[in-house]
């Protein structure tokens, strides 16, 4: 029955579709309505798009739609054994040959053309037939993975017009020979941190540029470079520093001015001791990718697109603590959990992360106590809490000064059975936790453990060659190292299609990576926080203690 409908549709479409783009719609309308079909599966009239997939399985556009497979840039995806071909007008309206001329030897996925059936260029009519009936201009019925969409002529015309706008003209910041980047530096950031962030980025840009230069004068280098990188080998990169001054409400204007003067393809790295929100917003609005700014407090959003962060920042530690505790909640049997947090950026982010996950996992709120900024945490203060609420678990988000207060508490009879604190908030002081406190104290630790990290030193050493490592921040060096690695990998995978959305799509298709610093970083379409892990550790015995894992990297 359904097959019959599809067949009839095919028959009627193959000779009848010629609907022009509706006159009354402006290009902006087309863009908006087309985008809604392509990304949200909603028709211009507000109804849900309908399709059949795998022959006879009906699906709603709200479950998945074009963007799920062809991705936001329209340049397609590869997953396991399934290749989703590009669906942007520029490529569709071009003949697909058995290879892409000039790239016969380029070992990138641009070679996919070799393994896909050839087809002539689409026309509006044949494209409509493909979308509605899954039959390409050669008469081939394409894989059943590609759904068959029931679209009215008018909607089909809007869809096709929209496909023509996808990944069409090269974005600002990219020319035939050069790709421009900038890194945003918020004034007031510790200069050591800034230098540590910039060093790996500049290292990588310089190295790339020297290859491009060498390739110009040396054919053998050029050939090798070409074989490795395709056309990317001859590109040079630029990296500007955009310094933001004054209060954060003035950053927007500064960013606009920088961007007007030098439109870049993407922001790379970047650093701020506090908020990043204005830069994040700026990137969303200009559709400007921003890769791995080094910030404690990234903007948390499930739908924003343009900023790829290293992790959810310090709040991830609070979230992980809540998940860890959730795993033993049945045993706590309703006894109190108290969260004490410093009224500072970090303290608030940690407490909020904990609270959010704790509530999300279905538990009643914990007892929340805020420590005013500047007021030291004392044993007396903790004793009061213990006497009053008799908590089974005490979560304390504060800096190194909490060690002294907690040590005083250990001798207390009714002390909490478990104390949780942040390893990064404690900083180096975590190595000074006294023996008496170690059994009760659980720490969040969002990095690979030090003894394992030594296997990853090579990469940091490469960047630091000839420099004094003590003058740099070892965490930030590694973070910026990751930024340039991911960018390099992605540009290579992009096979010459240097479009902004495709950069993010490409990163979304990368495998999990085992870089320095984080046990694992992972990507995925729309995923924007690369490192998802945070160990719960305890400090081991002895004078030179090691950290002992009490959880896996990711706690669910």
């Amino acid at each position: 029955m359904k097959l019959l409908t599809v067949t009839l549709l095919l028959l009627s479409l193959s000779n009848a579709f010629a609907a022009p783009v509706p006159q009354e719609l402006s290009p902006a309308d087309i863009q908006r309505l087309g985008e809604r079909m392509y990304r949200d599966g909603i028709l211009p009239n507000g109804e849900v798009m309908k399709a059949f997939v795998s022959d006879d399985v009906p699906v709603d556009g709200t479950a998945f739609t074009c963007v799920s497979c062809h991705l936001r840039s329209g340049l397609g995806s590869v997953e396991g054994e399934v290749v989703t071909t590009p669906t942007n007008g520029r490529i569709l309206y071009e003949e697909r040959k058995s290879f892409i001329k000039g790239s016969e030897f380029v070992p990138s996925i641009s070679n996919y053309a070799k393994y896909l059936p050839v087809r002539p260029a689409y026309t509006d009519e044949t494209l409509a037939t493909l979308i509605a009936a899954g039959v390409d201009p050669t008469g081939r019925s394409v894989l059943k993975v590609m759904p068959r969409y029931e679209l009215e002529d008018r909607d089909m015309a809007i869809m096709i017009a929209y496909l023509k706008t996808l990944s069409d003209e090269l974005p600002p910041g990219v020319s035939e020979k050069e790709i421009k980047f900038a890194t945003v530096i918020v004034e007031g950031t510790d200069p050591v941190a800034v230098e540590s962030m910039v060093l790996p980025l500049q290292f990588s840009v310089d190295r790339k540029n020297s290859l491009a230069k060498a390739a110009k004068s040396n054919d053998r280098v050029a050939r090798m470079g070409y074989n490795m990188l395709g056309d990317l080998h001859s590109y040079t990169f630029t990296l500007s520093r955009w310094v933001l001054k004054g209060t954060s409400d003035t950053w927007r204007a500064q960013l606009e001015a920088y961007y007007a003067k030098e439109p870049v393809f993407a922001l790379l790295g970047g650093i701020s001791p506090g908020t990043w929100e204005p830069v994040h917003r700026f990137c969303e609005e200009h559709r400007l990718p921003s890769l791995f700014p080094i910030v404690d407090e990234p903007v948390i959003s499930a739908s924003d697109w343009y900023t790829q962060y290293l992790s959810r920042g310090i709040r991830l530690e609070g979230e992980s603590a809540a998940r860890y505790l959730h795993g033993m909640v049945d045993l706590i049997k309703g006894r109190a959990i108290v969260q004490v947090s410093r009224d500072s950026r970090r303290g608030r982010a940690l407490a909020d992360g904990f609270r959010t996950i704790w509530t999300e996992t279905g538990h009643p709120p914990v007892i929340d106590i805020t420590l005013p900024a500047g007021e030291p945490l004392t044993v007396e203060k903790l004793r009061q809490i213990v006497v009053k609420d008799r908590p089974a678990v005490l979560v304390v988000w504060d800096d190194a000064s909490l060690i002294k207060a907690l040590s005083g508490l250990v001798e207390q009879a009714d002390r909490p059975s478990m104390i949780i604190a942040s390893g990064t908030f404690l900083g180096e002081a975590l190595w000074t936790v006294p023996e008496s406190l170690r059994a009760a104290l659980y720490l969040t630790y969002p990095y690979r453990l030090p003894e394992d990290e030594k296997r990853f030193d090579i990469s940091a050493r490469k960047v630091l060659a000839g420099k004094n490592p003590n003058k740099y921040d070892s965490v930030i060096i590694r973070q910026a190292y990751i930024a340039q690695e991911v960018l390099g990998q992605a540009l290579m995978m992009m096979r010459g299609e240097y479009y902004r959305d495709f950069l993010l799509d490409t990163i979304g298709m990368m495998e999990d990576m085992h870089y320095p610093l984080y046990e694992r970083v992972s990507f995925g379409p729309g995923q924007r926080y690369a490192s998802k892990g945070c160990f719960i550790v305890q400090v081991g015995k002895g004078d030179k203690p090691q950290l002992e894992k009490r959880s896996e990297w990711v706690i669910q």
Binding site: M328, S417, R455
Partner: protein, 124 residues
């Protein structure tokens, strides 16, 4: 880098499982690493909740497991299997539940690969 890529190829060519070298590795130097295969809870007293114990032992034992891609993907390191399904007992170490965990693990010796240079080629 090059080693990492080589390993990558090996992985792709189907060596997805860890190399199972001879059981009797003579050279004992190097660190021991575990890949956890199973876990069980051994309650201390009869009243201890076996389901919670099982779940917590999962966390406790799995925490001792390495993510072996973290060794194979770096380059310059090698994992040699020295024992299969070895059982060992660790205290649950949880303030809310007594008892032990029995973890079952494959045991590996982590070694620096000396056959090839681990240094990246010059200029890379």
């Amino acid at each position: 880098m090059r080693n990492k890529a080589t390993l990558h190829i090996l992985l792709l060519l189907g060596m997805l499982t860890l190399p199972a070298f001879a059981e009797d590795v003579k050279d004992p130097e190097g660190e021991i690493a575990y890949v956890i295969n199973d876990y069980r809870y051994a309650p201390a007293e009869t009243g201890d909740d076996p389901d919670s114990g099982h779940a917590l032992c999962g966390t406790r034992c799995n925490a001792l497991s390495i993510d072996y891609l973290n060794y194979l993907m770096v380059g310059g390191w090698e994992l040699r299997k020295v024992a299969t399904n070895r059982e060992f007992t660790v205290p649950l170490d949880n303030p809310f539940l007594k008892g032990n965990c029995i973890c079952t693990a494959d045991e590996y010796l982590v070694k620096v690969i000396t056959r090839n240079s681990t240094k990246p080629p010059a200029g890379n």
